[in-house]
């Protein structure tokens, strides 16, 4: 049979199948080629258009054909080169002649499995509807009933405790000569850090470009050292630059260990030279964006820098399996890892696990509650982001964070341990731009702190991604903003200083907003963890499920 490719449009998709359609304005275009030079996926390409006109200029029909050839820009309909809507073309167009437009009727997912390979991407869950957290309001406003506080005038200390916070009677302390001293026979006091309740969640060196990672890290250092805001950032699973580990800034960073154990030999080698203990150790068991799916850094991203920091050969695929090897039960898995990691820094550093949001979170929580060395539990909900995952894992797997944290908190309340074991909420914080409100709501539901990832990508580096599957090229190494790429041509678009400045902006602003939320509640020193009487929601089912007031 004649192969279909030889024929005209057989088996060719139309633009209507694609999620974004390029609107190109011939009348404005100067054919400068900036758009095609910058398109990360070659979804647009220069081409030639022919026009045939019939003119008749005389007083009687005097037909004359006129052919006009113009050059221009055309969108490709190849599914492998679909327009992701990133808008880099519009960004660089000097004459506002081109932009991608979202096509709500697209049938993209039906076709994006060529070669039997399911759609993989980075970014976020593509669900633009407001999350439960975003529906919560703060409905308890103290005016004449409690001493009212003024966020602008009063001094606030918005801080939280990262680490196991034992009640006084459980602390191995005794009074000797009028002074409190640690009892000699059981000298372990769990390490606790006082930190800002919004943290930068785990994003690895490798997932992020060097400019992005350094920008975040520098912003964190600035916040601590110039602004006096004790913000901490998690390394992600990709090791830590030894220069940072050995610097005094190490104390602002949480080191993550995950199933790939990447970079840990370099970290262990650096320990004797470290002058500061890290803020904490996070053991990653799961990720909210892709529960049960492991991580994979593609070989083409494993360049010199990544290979050195992770301690691996150049240009090989680096898999972090969905599960840790050689750990066969929850007791063993958690206890073994917490012990090992605590020992590395002489039990001076809080060690806690991070899991993806799940119905089984309570089982993990109760295991941790019984483990005196467990410092916290971090739960990453379904709205979390990722650098790379199967679309199905991102869109269809996971557990919303609100009820997950709430259940855990109420369970701790039953055990009387709600002030002992901090819960950290992650996944979709600030999804709709309301970072401080989301953080405050999670805190009132019972979280001690929240983690942000995508939010800081957008705020810090103008990430193009949104909940309409815009861009989401994180997994391809072709991030047009330079955030998630190891290609210097791309990541050198990103100025680490600017990223750092924006990180500072974000946390200073969130600090103000948290005060604006907490002040009317009459709270200025203690974080209102679990203060759920301040919350209301206009959805009765949500109210019942979260045990908060229904308001309307």
């Amino acid at each position: 049979m004649e192969p279909a490719e030889r024929l005209d449009q057989n088996h060719e998709l139309t633009l209507k199948e694609l999620p974004y359609i390029i609107r190109w304005r011939e009348d404005r275009c100067t054919r400068c080629g900036r758009c095609t030079a910058v398109c990360p996926v070659n979804a647009i390409e220069p081409t030639v258009f022919a026009q045939r006109l019939i003119h008749s200029e005389g007083p009687v029909p005097t037909p004359k054909t006129v052919r006009r050839l113009t050059q221009g820009v055309r969108q490709n309909v190849d599914i492998e080169r679909y327009c992701t809507g990133c808008g880099s073309c519009s960004l660089v167009c000097p004459t506002v002649a081109i932009e991608p437009e979202y096509n709500p009727q697209h049938k993209f997912l039906i076709f994006k499995n060529k070669g039997g390979v399911p759609y993989k991407r980075g970014g976020r869950r593509n669900d633009p509807s407001p999350s439960t957290v975003d529906q919560l309001k703060f409905t308890r406003i103290s005016m004449l009933t409690d001493p009212a506080l003024d966020a602008g005038r009063h001094e606030f200390r918005i801080r939280t405790l990262l680490g196991r916070n034992l009640p006084p009677e459980k602390l191995p302390l005794e009074q000797r000569n009028g002074h409190l001293q640690v009892r000699e026979e059981s000298g372990f006091i769990p390490p606790v850090r006082e930190i800002f309740p919004i943290r930068i969640g785990s994003m690895s060196v490798g997932a992020l470009s060097p400019h992005m990672w350094e920008g975040l890290a520098m912003g964190v250092a600035y916040l601590n050292e110039v602004e006096g805001l004790p913000v901490v950032m998690c390394s992600g699973e990709g090791g830590m630059p030894p220069r940072l580990l050995k610097s005094r800034f190490a104390k602002y960073f949480i080191l993550q260990i995950a199933s790939g154990y990447f970079g840990w030999d370099e970290i262990v080698h650096a320990i004797p030279e470290m002058t500061e203990d890290p803020a904490a150790i996070e053991i990653k068991y799961g990720q909210g964006a892709k529960p049960g799916d492991g991580g994979l850094l593609m070989a083409y991203k494993v360049l010199n820098l990544i290979a050195k920091i992770r301690g691996v050969p150049l240009y090989v695929d680096l898999a972090s399996p969905p599960t840790h090897q050689t750990k066969y039960s929850i007791e063993e898995a958690v206890a073994k890892m917490i012990q090992s990691m605590s020992m590395a820094w002489g039990f001076r550093v809080p060690v806690y696990p991070k899991i993806s949001g799940t119905k089984t979170a309570l089982a993990v929580l109760n295991n941790l509650a019984r483990n005196p060395y467990a410092a916290a539990l971090c739960i990453d909900g379904e709205d979390g982001g990722t650098g790379a995952a199967y679309n199905v894992s991102m869109d269809k797997m996971g557990h919303p964070i609100a009820s997950n944290i709430r259940d855990c908190y109420l369970d701790l309340v039953k055990q009387g341990k709600q002030n002992e074991l901090p819960l950290i909420a992650a996944g979709g914080m600030g999804k709709a731009g309301n970072l401080a409100a989301n953080a405050a709501a999670m805190i009132m539901l019972g979280a001690s702190a929240v983690d942000i990832g995508k939010y800081i990508m957008q705020a810090g580096a103008d990430c193009f991604g949104d909940e309409y599957n815009r861009c989401n090229l994180c997994n391809t190494g072709r991030c047009p903003r330079g955030i998630t790429t190891q290609d210097p041509k791309l990541y050198r678009r990103l100025d680490p200083d600017k990223v750092a400045e924006r990180v500072v902006d974000v946390f200073k602003a969130a600090d103000v907003e948290l005060k604006k939320i907490f002040a009317p509640l009459g709270r200025s020193t203690e974080l209102p963890i679990g203060m759920s009487d301040a919350l209301g929601v206009a959805d009765k089912a949500v109210a019942e499920r979260l045990e908060i007031s229904y308001v309307c």
Binding site: T30, R31, C32, G33, R34, C35, T36, A37, V38, E45, P46, T47, V48, F49, A50, R67, L69, Q71, S88, L91, V92, G152, R153, E155, P210, W213, E214, A217, M218, A221, Y222, E225, V226, E227, P241, R243, L244, S247, R248, F249, N304, L305, K308, I309, P488, K489, L490, R492, R493, L494, D495, P496, D497, K498, A500, E501, V504
Partner: protein
Amino acid sequence: MVIQGKVNGKRVSSRELEEQIQQAARAGKQTLTIHADGQHGIGGRIWPNGKKLRITIDGPSGQRLGSMGMAGTEIVVRGSASDDVGWINCGAKITVLGDVTNGAHNAGAQGILYVQGGGGARCDTMTKYNPRFEPLQSWYFRDVGDSFAEFKAGGIAVVCGVEPRNPDNILGYRPCVGMVGGTIYFRGPIQGYSEKDVQCVPLTPQDWEWLTKNIKPYLKAIDRMAYLEELTRSPEDWNKLIAYTPAEKAARRGMKVPMHEFRTQVWDAGVGKGGIFGEYLEHDQTILPYITTDKNRRFRPVWRNDFYLPPCAYNCPSRIPSHKRASLIRQNRLEDALALVLQYSPFPASVCGQVCPNLCMDACTRGEIDQPLDIKNLGSLSLEIPAPEKARATGKKVAVIGAGPAGLSTAWQLALKGHEVDLYEGSNHLGGKLEMCIPRERLPQKILKKEISRLEEMGINVHLKTKVSRKRFKEIYDTHEVVVIAVGAHEARMVPFKGYEDVIPGIEFLKQVNYGETLDFKKQDVVVIGAGNAGMDIACQAYACGARSVTAVDIQPPASFSKEQELARSRGTQILYPKVTERYDPKKKKVHFKDGTAVDADAVIMSIGEVPVLDFLPQSIHTERGYLVVNELGQTTDVKVFGVGDATQPGLVTHAIGQGRIAADVIHTQMMNYDYVPEIQREIPRERIKTVYYEAARSDEFVVEEEANKCMSCGSCRDCGMCEVSCYYGAISRIGGDGGTFEYVVKDDLCIGCGFCAGICPCGIWELEENV
């Protein structure tokens, strides 16, 4: 007049006391003495109509003393006063001979407050300035409490700092939060203020003049003139707090320390120069724009002229570059164009022009918009072109056995390269199947003879009627550097069904016809077994021999090309398939098929292919299923022996010609000790040719110049200059060389890698490469 705040041991209510005071004021009283008992708001809200009213208060005065006080009201409190003294003061002069508690002059706008002692918390908060009036004054002799002057918008506050309750801090904790206007003069130590809102500066001469002038009535009023000298000793004892203007605040908004400064002085100092990744990064530590040139481009264009073969040349087994021929014609070099073909084939008129199915034309890109280029006619135009000049004689000697298309092509190419060629042919004609088998009506002998005569001009040593035996072969082998076997396939394949002995071998039939030994098929029904191209030729020839009907049968759909089939059908040939012949009954003149059917057959001709006769070869030269085993370069198992044409595999004449040329190239390099460089075998991807540039032709009349213009020059630059003109940045330029050569080059420092050149190139020459 004296007003009692307590009558008969009973406290007068605030409302009653206020009524008495207002009555006294309305009555024009000038002095009032009030023995207060904690009543609210004493002394305020009196409108003296230009007159003065002096109120002296004894006893405990209540909150908001003198609040909403007006100009003309003077209040002296003999002792301390409670909260909010002078709240919203609008001009009263209030002297407190003691301390004031919280909130003194809260929201005060005009007037004066003299305090002999100190102030409580939140004094001077929310004060105003109204340009219609003199600014408010608040004087505190000792110190003030926490949160002083919050949201202060106007007025002057003076804190003298004499014997303060807290000797380390006379303005209390966090003064001036939200302060936007007014002035605070203070004397003594403080512990911070809202740096976001105000700045602490030394006094100007004007400040000092105001202070030293106005402090005297103050000290007099509070009976502390003794301190005048100490307090006016030096402006350096004093400091001033003033609010930043909105413009100053805006300028100070943002980073406390600029980030680049933090990076160089704090971050890099802590982690090392170049940052945390400095030890691994090899690139410059600079930021790139989105649009970049040179080595920072993501892509770079490459002018890939003649990197790909056009569909015509790629699909031509002889690799005749028809696009080059068209290009030469467009350059007005028709002679060169027609001679060019002779470098590839000695038979452009006979083969391209006559017998070839022209696979080039089937593939031609032009065919997508109208008609393929007319290669048949273009080939025929080369008929009269003389033989090209031979290269200088090399002294090398090659034998070619067989003077069919393959052998002649090989001999032609070798002769062109200057080698001496001995050509051995069993028959007494040159041309092989072209001469013997192709019907004369498909290949007029005049054309073939003309081209053979051109071939003969090459000085090839032709040995006709020389059958090569084993012994002969050995002699040839020993006396030549290389031997090329091009004996063709001349033994008909026969299927031994019953009665096959009476079947005529097709090739013999064709040869007989071409040599005039015509069979007489008059009124006969002829059956041709095998409906390939040869079968179709046979059918035509059978009609030429007078046949009444010709039926061609095949066991599968006929392999013949449509043109050959059409010709045969036009004569009346019927084609039947699938028909597997079971037997031929020459007596009953019927061919029976295995499906039980039969057709009438006065004569049966078998045309299912031929095999070569290779009995002269030694065992060292391998054959397989009757054919000579060669690789794609024509090399046999003997390094000295090459094989081409139908002797190796049945094919078209053009295949034989192409094989001959390739074998000749390989033989040449082998004999001359060069490295053989294989030819380009890449076909240009179809989508790279921008057919949209061309308009469908309305006429199919053959005019050689127009034909050349129609050629889309796939993969071969037609030098139109489209890229040079299109490039927005002027990064492409044409460089001409000797003899009409040219190239297009890119100025890397101007090129952004947009791909316009690649996207618009009519011929698909420009290719965008990743710039690594």
